[in-house]
Amino acid sequence: MATASNVTHSHPSPERMSADLLRPLLQTSWRFYLLVALLGSIVAAGAVAWVTQMFFGFGISGIRWPIYWGFYVTNFVFWIGISHAGTLISAILRLVNAGWRRPVTRCAEVITAFALMIGAMFPIIHLGRPWLAFWLFPYSSERLIWPNFRSPLVWDFFAINTYLTGSMLFLLLPMIPDFAVVRDKTTGLRHRIYRTLALGWRGTPKQWHRLESAMSIMAVAIIPVAVSVHTIVSFDFSMAPVPMWQSTIFGPYFVAGAIFSGIAGLIIAMAVLRKVLRLQEYLLPLHFENLGKLLLVMALLWGYFVFNERLVTYYGNEPSEMTVFWQTQRDNYAPLYWTMVICNFVLPLIILGIRKFRTITGCVIASIGVVIGMWLERYLIIVPSLGHKYLPYSFGSYRPQPAEITITVATFAAMCLLYVLFAKVVPIISIWEMKAGDHPSPSLIPPATEHHKLGELHL
């Protein structure tokens, strides 16, 4: 990419780079503790809400007949969607060898790991008796009642676990050389911890070569896994003969939506990191501009999917689908529906479509819109359809209760908390990849020069 050289050459010197990127690990201010305490207390409130729900039963939530999926499943789909930020963006950028990816990839990969963990919690939170969650697992069951292999929920179990394993590897592999750097800069207990994490990294040519092979395999392998995960999440809906759920486009629609919200989440995270950790010299306006363009493309794609889904449903004119169709289009759910359209389509199109507005602030505003819009999208897929199934006797409405709202808020806090803690213990921008960007070699990882062989001393 032509832009690669322009970006990397403006970077600070390797020594400054190490100092800048390791500063958050080595110095701790009172603001960090305050932030952790604040976020931690919100997460604790969520935990209390969950325990309360377990103790008093599911009746304290708003989830009741006929709407059995409410905020929890919305959050589940939403967080799994956000998790597509990392792997897909990072893997695709690695594959096309986009030079500007270097400071972005780890920020993105971390989102994947944490958002997946949070998302995967929700099917369990959604259970009245969470201690029976293992019924989803393929444990030996001689009567073959559980697990039901025809249920997409079981497929979810496999898909999400595969994805979690894969994305953890994808995140951890390029962290090894950075752990080695931290190992060499610390003493005492911390030194011993990082020494374990660094897995004996010495920066020998052989090690670099192996890392390079592992990363190129992972980058290719993770893409089909990521696509399959959100396709299978979409099958949770589309495998059920519920109006407006049973739609063949749901697989690609959910995948596109997931990438869409993932990019938005990444832009917000990067903007916060840039401000808080003073990374202005690393996360440049160009990165936001490029991600903003990707977000714009995804907004257009999202618009296509929604238009297409609506059009073909209208074309098919199946009565029960049309009930749900009009519910969202102009009746009870219309305010939410049009808010979603504005947040996901109109706002990004205006802000990101006009070059002048495609600044960091502009990208962040559009991204916040998209995150809200995508959450609403999942809500609007779930609730109106469940509330208007085929016969009027099963019509109903949904009103979220304090327990659900608290848990929902708590997961956002949990995401922030995990991110803050991660940035505290691992350099959030991959140091060696930044340095590798200064090398002229177009390959993923620079050839092992003297500089790298002495990684332990110099990197």
Binding site: V227, F235, M239, T248, P252, E318
Partner: protein
């Protein structure tokens, strides 16, 4: 760069006249078919037409993607542009479909519409006048896009770089227009053959299929070109590697879309949707379905895994040619099971009818006829421009990058 050396080799003229001969013979056979069995003629024509329309439109979409993303496969831009410039001919070749509307589409019959609630609901949208008006809009926008793209590309050749930014903007807008029009055209021209079936994924099936056809066709043509000067010195293995990788991705997309559609329709088993698949997994069609799974997906997928094959045009071209044939088979599968072996649309016959597997001789004549004439037009267009978009500022980069390491 000396541009005179970039003219098409003499061989092309020979291919061009051969294509024209084949095309005229095919068209004559089609004319005979029109007289002998009009129903079959229209059905076969539509299928063959969709294949070549797919190559042209897919090529146009790839040109636009190329303008937006860059990448080493930009060296094939002239082939893609030449395909997209055949759209005026394709607009002409659409006329038999217009003539055959009443044989192909049940909603053209007022008595059928009156008797059917769904068709009545759709009547304001789906009627002869609006159908033709929409077709006019589709072709007008496609031709306008192709024309704009290639005109500005010529300006680049002349050294005028002022249009480079505009090319990108037009490509962005053009992709949106393409996606919308092809989705609507797919509904109009194919989905509405079966009056009750609908699938939200259908637009994507069209787009994915067209992209795959265009890539396969470009590989075939590029392999033809690489044999002679000037392209023999310019096209390198990594250029073919790029196209091969893209084709590999599209083969997987095709499988992904079709699997999603099949699984969801099969599992839901709803009255509006399932007849589409019941027709295709019974009465001999199931063997064609299996054939598609194995030879449109599994075998090309396995073959394209090989890095060496993707980098060697002499080997890659066989996969590409095979995929073109499979594209035709896939379109055949999309359309034909909705017709009785007499060539009549099942949904217009009184009572219950099922389609038994059949192939008509017109299914050979129509692709030869349309394909021959289309190829003639394509080679004419290809010979008109230098074979390399040498004015492209990104081209130097794509010629120099060793690339293709993954």
């Amino acid at each position: 760069m000396d541009t005179t050396v970039l003219t098409a080799p003499q061989d092309l003229a020979a291919h061009r006249s051969k294509a024209l001969v084949v095309g005229l013979v095919g068209l004559a056979a089609c004319g005979l078919g029109f007289v002998l069995n009009r129903d079959q003629f229209f059905r076969s024509w539509l299928i063959a037409y969709l294949l070549f329309l797919g190559i042209a439109l897919g090529s146009m979409a790839l040109v636009m993607i190329q303008h937006l993303t860059g990448g080493t496969w930009g060296v094939f831009r002239r082939v893609l542009e030449a395909s997209s410039r055949t759209l005026p001919l394709l607009a002409l070749l659409f006329l038999p479909v217009v003539l055959g509307m009443s044989t192909l589409y049940p909603w053209t019959h007022d008595d059928l519409v009156r008797a059917d609630e769904v068709l009545r609901h759709r009547q304001p949208y789906q009627n002869t006048g609006f159908f033709l008006a929409r077709a006019l809009v589709y072709f007008a926008s496609w031709i306008a896009l192709a024309w704009t793209l290639t005109r500005w590309s010529r300006r680049q050749d002349e050294g005028d770089m002022s249009g480079n930014m505009l090319l990108q903007r037009v490509s962005g807008a053009g992709l949106v227009i393409y996606a919308l029009t092809i989705t609507l055209a797919g509904v109009d021209w194919v989905m509405s053959i079966n009056p009750h079936w609908y699938s939200t994924l259908f637009g994507f099936l069209m787009i994915g299929g067209q992209g795959l056809s265009a890539l396969a066709f470009t590989i075939v043509i590029a392999t033809l070109l690489v044999k002679d000067e000037p392209m023999s010195g310019l096209l390198k293995p990594h250029h073919f590697h790029d196209l091969g990788k893209l084709m590999f991705a599209f083969v997987m997309l095709w499988a992904y879309f079709n699997f999603s559609q099949f699984l969801l329709t099969y599992a839901a088993n709803l009255l509006e949707e399932i007849p589409y698949f019941i027709a295709r997994i019974n009465h001999g069609w199931q063997y064609l379905a299996l054939f598609l799974i194995v030879f449109h997906f599994a075998v090309p997928w396995l073959l394209l895994l090989s890095r060496d094959r993707k980098r060697n045009p002499a080997r890659l071209v066989w996969v590409a040619a095979w995929i073109l044939f499979m594209r035709y088979t896939d379109l055949f599968m999309l359309v034909t099971p909705e017709f009785a072996s007499t060539g009549q649309n099942l949904h217009m016959l009184a009572g219950e009818h099922e389609s038994l597997f059949f192939v008509h001789w017109l299914d050979l004549a129509a692709p030869l006829g349309i394909g021959g004439v289309w190829l003639w037009m394509f080679f004419t267009q290809l010979a008109q421009r230098p074979l390399l978009a040498f004015g492209d500022p990104y081209l130097r980069e794509s010629m120099e990058t060793a690339g293709g390491g993954h």
